[in-house]
Subunit: 436 residues, 2 copies
């Protein structure tokens, strides 16, 4: 038995090799191994390997890819290179790949395979099985899902090899096919598509154009990659940077800095408002420096509760558990949760000041008023953080942005600025006549 | 043609119904529709529906689930209920479900189906097809992947319905089966398992115990759910709360508050150190209140760059793109990126102070020194944020914690405390003899 781990091992080492070393390694594989290995690489790695291979090998291996995978690879290349690559495919594959290239990579049309098995509904079961038998040695994506089209290429039924296999020979395809099927439009977004797969436990989904004509199928193994990719984009945005287009260790350093600098600068510019807010209260701070001491503690608590709320809401939206019209239910929940969490934190903050006072007499004669100021501010700011963190994704989605852009740092910045105003306003009211 | 959207529509409305209304709705479906609908519900929803149904219906519908799904549902119930549910299964299913219940839900053994097709290697192709034909009308999970076991139930080969279908009748199973296959142990973590599926584009994976005996198969449709679930856990932790065990709108309010309060309190207690740090520099602040004005701006910049870095590293780790031994490469990248990002932010901060001075004369005679203090602090703190944000997941993973716990709020808290020390130390050195 050949060890299955040879591929894994090579795969593990692969990313640490230079492109030239990768080509060397790849050429030393047997044709069977090389094909298996190439198919398992990510699109990004496939494109890089093919670009590095000498011309003759390059066309050979390009032809080894299924048309949907070849189209994905070509989409990674510059337009000039695309044309050269396309010319080296045989005519029917070139036709298929060109049709797929017309779609954006992140819609159903860009994911589908045009090589599915199609039958007519007037075939008998033995005819259908014989036809499948001939197809099986060819290069269809899968034999297991079988689609029945009418004369206008409209989908009228679906069945499977399993159902044909157990059907009695006297039956026709029409009798055993199911007419209760789900289709997706070729322009459906891949995130939506993956939710459809998850919700209905689908293994394959036929893709149709605006006129209802069948264009191809998307299978669940493509969807696993989509889910990973969409989630990675979301997470990177939620961390406060633009989505990367390559793995962390592979992306160019300059490219990475560019993707991170944008948001960082934007957040810094917004956060500058805290300096204005602080300046506005400079007299209060000069009279009671003790107020400044608690600024980081208080504003960060709002940022933390806001970060929790925004993350929970963004993820629930991505999973389809929360829709725009649920905003009121979410607001109500967050208001209650925020007030409870704020009270817990407020009591701890109050206790901290009273305790410190007993131990070290740090806060002077008005320590009780200071403790009250901090306690009330914490309740208000934690509740405000929860509410604004939870509502920001709704607002972004409503105006057409990606809700995942409501990153933890974005919410923290928002709450920092407003939090200072809440804190100093409460302080002014409680401490007027004593410290201020 | 029956509209495929009836199920989707019901599904959409489902979560907004009370349990009693759900039972009513469910009972109005035809048996076929009800079964299809039940199978599409999440485990959480299946368990709730079955618990609410009257006794007779409950056992009927429990039996409609595949043994691995039934085991998942039972795992949601209290131990007493589990026993009652188990008693109402037929003997062979009870045996299968009990065996699955022995596994944790998040390992391969807890995900697998025990109902796979097995053949002997000395069968001829027609014998094998005839055997599959008999199995097909039964309740095997899938016909398409076929496993060849020896007398000790050890896996010796794999093949598929497609390969058997195209093989010539003179061949034996041994001749067409592949012996180059991948297996996974029954105790493999589901996150690891899903990476294996993605890396090798698998559709099904045989699961074996420590002695190499075949126990079941995991199919890719189960893996899609696993990926969603693991990612949701990671994201919730990255937002600074514990992972929820139910959708956002379904989880009890008290339960949600409990899951969020833990981290929030812990972060608050750590953030208290900022109050100590600020107190320590209270004299400096009293002499130069202007220093306090920039505190929120400066520490939040460190938090933001740290949040970017930790999020990128956690995700790359979850995807297997970064391993523990890569820490040095990551540190090097983050040091360079952090210094570059810090310089960009530092220059903007410097410009802000000089600009404000020209416009409003806000910062007194020593404005140039203040600008330098803020500029240098920003470079240092943004770089420090990137480094500590990137290294924290490595440290957590090394000592056995989930790297996803290195949440944006966690990193921000860490950087807030250390950032204050960096800022005031730089200020003390630059401003000594003038403002301080």
């Amino acid at each position: 038995m050949i060890s299955p781990y040879s591929h894994s091992l090579l795969h593990d080492l692969w990313t640490e090799l230079s492109p030239a070393e990768q080509v060397e390694k790849f050429k030393n594989l047997s044709v069977g191994e090389a094909k298996k290995f190439l198919v398992e690489l990510s699109t990004f790695e496939q494109a890089r390997l093919l670009s590095t291979l000498p011309d003759d090998d390059r066309w050979l291996w390009l032809r080894a890819l299924a048309p949907d995978d070849a189209a994905d690879v070509l989409q990674q290349l510059a337009a000039v290179e695309q044309t050269v690559f396309l010319e080296h495919l045989d005519q029917s594959t070139r036709h298929e790949v060109s049709a797929l290239l017309a779609y954006r990579q992140d819609v159903a049309g860009g994911l589908m395979s045009p090589r599915y098995v199609q039958l007519r509904d007037d075939m008998s079961v033995p005819e259908a099985l014989a036809y499948l038998h001939r197809q099986a040695v060819g290069h269809v994506e899968t034999l297991y899902y079988v689609y029945i089209l009418d004369g206008n290429r409209r989908l009228t039924g679906v069945t499977s090899l399993r159902e044909l296999f157990v059907a009695s020979p006297e039956q026709s395809v029409r009798e055993i096919m199911s007419t209760d099927f789900i289709t997706a439009g070729d322009d459906m977004d891949q995130e939506h598509l993956s939710l459809l797969f998850a919700e209905h436990n689908l293994l394959a989904l036929p893709i149709v154009d605006h006129d209802g004509r069948m264009k191809g199928i998307v299978t669940i193994d493509d969807i696993v990659d989509v889910v990973e990719e969409e989630v990675t984009e979301d997470i990177q945005k939620m961390g406060g940077s633009e989505a990367f287009n390559a793995p962390y260790l592979e992306i160019g350093l300059l490219d990475m800095i560019r993707k991170r600098a944008g948001w960082l600068v934007l957040l810094f510019l917004s956060e500058m408002l805290t300096a204005n807010a602080m300046s506005y209260f400079e007299n209060e701070i000069a009279r009671a420096v003790i107020l400044a001491v608690f600024v980081p503690l208080i504003i960060s608590s709002g940022g933390n509760s806001g970060s929790q709320a925004t993350t929970l809401v963004i993820r629930a939206m991505a999973l389809g558990q929360i829709r725009l019209r649920d905003w009121w239910r979410v607001l109500r929940r967050e208001l209650i949760a925020g007030l409870c969490l704020g009270s817990i934190i407020g009591v701890i903050g109050l206790g901290r000041i009273l305790g410190w006072q007993m131990l070290f007499h740090s806060y002077g004669p008005h320590y009780q008023l200071i403790a009250m100021t901090v306690g009330f501010s914490l309740v208000g700011i934690v509740a405000w953080g929860s509410i604004s963190g939870a509502m920001l994704p709704f607002i972004l989605k409503r105006v057409g942005f990606d809700p995942a852009s409501a990153s933890a740092p974005f919410v923290a910045t928002l709450v920092d600025v407003t939090g200072l105003i809440i804190y100093f306003t409460i302080a002014a009211n409680i401490l007027r006549g004593t410290l201020l």
